[in-house]
């Protein structure tokens, strides 16, 4: 779904007829709608996974009334949030109160521009893809800070400040890990990074070439997503719900959505940066070429690539959900200590090691 090619072909096909000009001008919306629909369904299934995996870990029955085994529970939750009353705090800053969730959602949604599900199956193959993701993920905490400040609630304000401090602290080691990957791949494009891992199959993954970076990236991603043991901005026992306390209805639903969208983005980026992306990674003999089935193999490769990417992303999702129901929460000073005094030096050392090996290999 590279827009340029499809758009050019479509325009050339329809431009012979003047009357279709108004129609083909809207072709570019279809891939974006497809991506948004896929993302929404992904969030629904992650909500279901969270509740059912936690029930499984705690040996209790999860949701089982909305659809068989609660498969429709996420849709029911979304509908409930849509129908709830939207409450505004009387002494809060109402414009900021409304803008905060929007900024958070929009910035996360923009991250999906550069996530590839196949060689040509990416919405925008920018040459600075991972850089765009890092830049955009720095915008979401602005929305959280707005939400905390505008709630006229000291606990919400503390939650917002914690969110900003946490994001800033863990953004830096995350960036250094991504920079090391870019050094290995000679590119900031997500498609090029995946292609650089396809040379040696399973052992060509950056997971084996950057094991330290992989661990630091995992921890920083969890902190970036505000997942336990890094959920101090919410901290149910201390701040009620942090910056989300005063929200209800769809605005609260937007924060809920941001949480799971962020988790999905991190899962997909772990897959793209370290686990080989859409590559099959298992040796196989391609017999389609013998029977001149080029179009069929093209379709199958695209479909299999999507499944492979989602399967690998599921590994990170499973790990993060089980960690949430396994570990206790950290204190704020412990959190900042880990970020600044351990992850940052380790990621810097990892980057230095990578540059040293690059020099040696030259």
């Amino acid at each position: 779904m590279i827009i340029d090619r499809v758009e050019v072909e479509t325009i050339n096909s329809f431009s012979k007829l003047e009357l279709f000009k108004e129609i083909y001008g809207l072709i570019w919306i279809l891939p974006i709608f497809a991506l948004l629909l896929g993302i929404t369904i992904e969030v629904l299934v992650i909500v279901w996974l969270e509740r059912e995996i936690s029930a499984s870990i705690q040996q209790r029955i999860g949701p089982e009334y909305a659809g068989p085994l609660g498969l429709l529970q996420a849709i029911a939750d979304g509908t409930k949030l849509l129908l709830k009353e939207d409450i505004l705090p009387s002494r809060g800053d109402i414009p900021l109160f409304s803008i905060g969730p929007s900024i958070a959602v929009i910035s996360i949604l923009l991250s999906f521009l550069v996530i590839p599900l196949g060689y040509r199956f990416v919405l925008a193959d920018l040459s600075i893809g991972v850089f765009l993701w890092i830049a955009i993920s720095s915008i979401a905490p602005i929305g959280l800070l707005m939400a905390g400040y505008s709630s006229n609630n000291k606990y919400s304000f503390l939650g917002g400040l914690r969110a900003a401090a946490q994001s800033i602290s863990y953004e830096i080691p995350l960036t250094f890990c991504v920079l090391a990957i870019s050094l290995l791949s000679n590119s900031l494009s997500t498609v090029d990074i995946v292609e650089a891992q396809s040379k040696y199959g399973f052992f060509g993954w950056n997971l084996w070439r950057q094991p330290i970076g992989f661990l630091v990236f995992l921890i920083s991603s969890l902190a970036e997503c505000e997942r336990l043991p890094f959920d101090l901005p919410e901290a149910e026992e201390e701040l009620v719900a942090g910056y989300q306390t005063e929200y209800s209805g769809i605005k609260y639903g937007l924060f809920y959505l941001v949480s799971y969208l962020n988790l999905l983005v991190s899962s997909l980026f772990v897959t793209v940066l370290y686990l080989g992306g859409w590559n099959f990674s298992i040796p196989y003999i391609s017999f389609f070429g013998f029977f001149q089935m080029n179009k069929i193999i093209g379709i199958l490769e695209m479909v299999i690539g999507i499944f492979i990417t989602l399967t690998k992303a599921y590994l990170f999702l499973f790990i993060s959900i089980t960690i949430r129901w396994t570990l206790p929460r950290m204190r704020m000073d412990q959190l900042l200590n880990l970020g600044w005094k351990f992850l940052l030096p380790i990621s810097l050392g990892n980057l230095l090691l990578t540059t040293s090996f690059q020099l040696v290999s030259l």
Binding site: S13, K16, E64, P68
Partner: protein
């Protein structure tokens, strides 16, 4: 092929003699009718238009649709019943690896399972054997649900 297409469009344009009072609405309706007619002709006549500008081969729908149809059939009609039956049978009896795999397949096939979910029910109905119809009132004291685990005869 294109020369056959243009006269049809020109004919529609020339028959545009309308009164001035309702020229706007009839013009839009006329345009819509023209678009639909041209669309029908266009669907009948397959023109390799993109080749002239980009040099690339046009998208061949007849070669793409069969594999997509086969995959859609498998994804939406074959896999969800199998996965749901597996979940129904093993949901409370599984171990760790099976837990991972069950959740993974639900994660991968979730759009299809969402379509099936409103029509599938894993919870049993009342077990009163004397009920004449499914909507009859069950006898007092009938247990509502079947036991999830079979009774253990020996310890």
């Amino acid at each position: 092929m294109l020369f056959v297409l243009f006269p049809v469009c020109f004919l529609d344009e020339t028959t545009n003699a309308q009164p001035a009072a309702s020229v706007q609405q009839s013009s839009q309706l006329q345009r819509l009718a023209t678009v639909l007619r041209c669309g029908a002709v266009w669907a009948a006549v397959e023109a390799p238009a993109a080749l002239a500008v980009t040099g690339e081969e046009d998208i061949d729908l007849l070669a793409i649709l069969p594999p997509i149809a086969v995959f859609a059939f498998f994804y939406f009609l074959v896999a969800p019943p199998l996965i749901m039956n597996w979940m129904r049978l093993r949901w409370y009896k599984r171990e760790f690896v099976e837990t991972y795999l069950q959740f993974m397949f639900t994660y991968l096939f979730y759009p299809a399972m969402m379509f099936w979910a409103p029509f599938v029910n894993f919870r049993k109905f009342p077990r009163d054997p004397t009920m004449r119809y499914p909507w009859s009132k069950p006898k007092e004291g009938t247990p509502l649900f079947k036991d999830r685990y079979p009774p253990i005869d020996s310890y």
